[in-house]
């Protein structure tokens, strides 16, 4: 799937340096000035703002079915989401989602 090795290394290098600089930022360079309130507030929502947008198209139009809506994969997405919200456990959500996917694939393969 990925065949451009130099580009992969460049991504790794930039990502590694960039992530380090983010972690170092205040501790190392900026010093004892606190972040402005609204900026702190924005940063708090970055993971819940980025990850759902990353995954939503895959849940509705999966690669595996060449972008055609798949009831099984859509249900797996919903189950993972609900179990994650209810249990607050990343691992429980992964296991629930993977379990439903495997069972669903077995049933469709048998049918």
């Amino acid at each position: 799937m990925i065949d451009n090795s130099a580009m992969v290394w460049a991504i790794i290098a930039v990502l590694g340096v960039g992530t380090f600089l983010i972690r170092f930022s205040f501790l190392g360079l900026i010093g004892d000035r606190p972040l402005p309130d609204f900026l702190q507030r924005l940063l708090r929502y970055v993971p819940v703002a980025v990850l759902p947008a990353l995954v939503a198209p895959q849940v509705v139009w999966p690669n595996a079915t060449a972008g055609v809506f798949d009831p099984l994969r859509f249900s797996v997405g919903i189950v993972t989401l609900v179990v994650g919200i209810v249990t607050r456990q990343v691992l429980a959500a992964i296991i629930a989602g993977a379990g439903v996917l495997l069972i669903g694939l077995l049933i469709t393969a048998g049918a």
Binding site: L15, I22, F26, R41, R44, L51, P52, A56, P57, G84
Partner: protein, 217 residues
């Protein structure tokens, strides 16, 4: 902490599945050490996004760590530079959360005691994460990709953000993110993600501000 092992394993397996070389998978896991952004980069490489969009999206996922960095300043800001460099390298969700809680509970610790505590937390975590990724990558190399693996990344992302949906602003941000993620799906890979992410981030922050105002009045 126990989450790290299956998570590292999964990263290794999926990195091989995505077509990375073993050295690349390990290089990423050691240099970046940030699970969610590593998974994000993998997904976008598979989607053939362009270089800068991959880097921008994966770094966006890590921006929250600037907040961790700021939160550590009152406790560790006085430590020598080389120690702060090492702290920064190992400054991620688990080490930050455990350390700040301990510093809060023990206000009379000296700076060097705080540094010692931080590395006491980080030292077992980093090798476990790297080792788990390596085992995963070796497994991924050994067994051929089978059906269902295509959906392992989406399941992982949902499992990562679902437990964060604890408050109304978080729910609003996630809902906006999903709606615009879908609306922008036809834009060049990565561009829609960044636009949807920015809108969702503002939606969450503005909702929080509005709720605070309402609470005060």
């Amino acid at each position: 902490m126990p989450v790290l092992i299956p998570f590292g394993l999964l990263f290794g397996v999926l990195a091989m599945d995505a077509g990375l070389a073993l050295g690349q998978a390990m290089g990423m896991t050691m240099l970046v050490i940030a699970g969610a952004s590593q998974f994000t980069a993998l997904q976008m490489m598979v989607d053939n996004a362009s270089f800068w969009l991959i880097v921008a999206a994966a770094l966006a996922v890590n921006l929250r760590m600037a907040m961790y960095s700021a939160a550590l300043v009152p406790y560790l800001g006085a430590a020598p530079l080389w120690q702060r460099v090492l702290v920064a390298y190992a400054n991620f969700d688990q080490t930050y959360a455990v350390s700040v809680a301990a510093y809060d509970a023990n206000p009379n610790w000296t700076v060097s005691e705080r540094i010692a505590f931080f590395f006491g937390v980080a030292t077992p975590i980093v090798p476990v994460w790297i080792a788990a990724s390596l085992v995963g990558a070796l497994i991924g190399q050994a067994i051929p990709v089978n059906t269902g693996m295509d959906f392992a990344l989406p399941i992982t992302f949902i499992a990562l953000f679902a437990p964060m949906l604890k408050t109304i602003p978080h729910l609003v941000a996630a809902a906006v993110s999903i709606v615009f993620g879908l609306l922008f799906a036809t834009l060049p890979s990565g561009l829609g993600l960044l636009a949807a992410g920015a809108l969702a981030m503002f939606a969450g922050a503005v909702t929080e501000t509005m709720m605070l105002r309402r609470g005060k009045s």
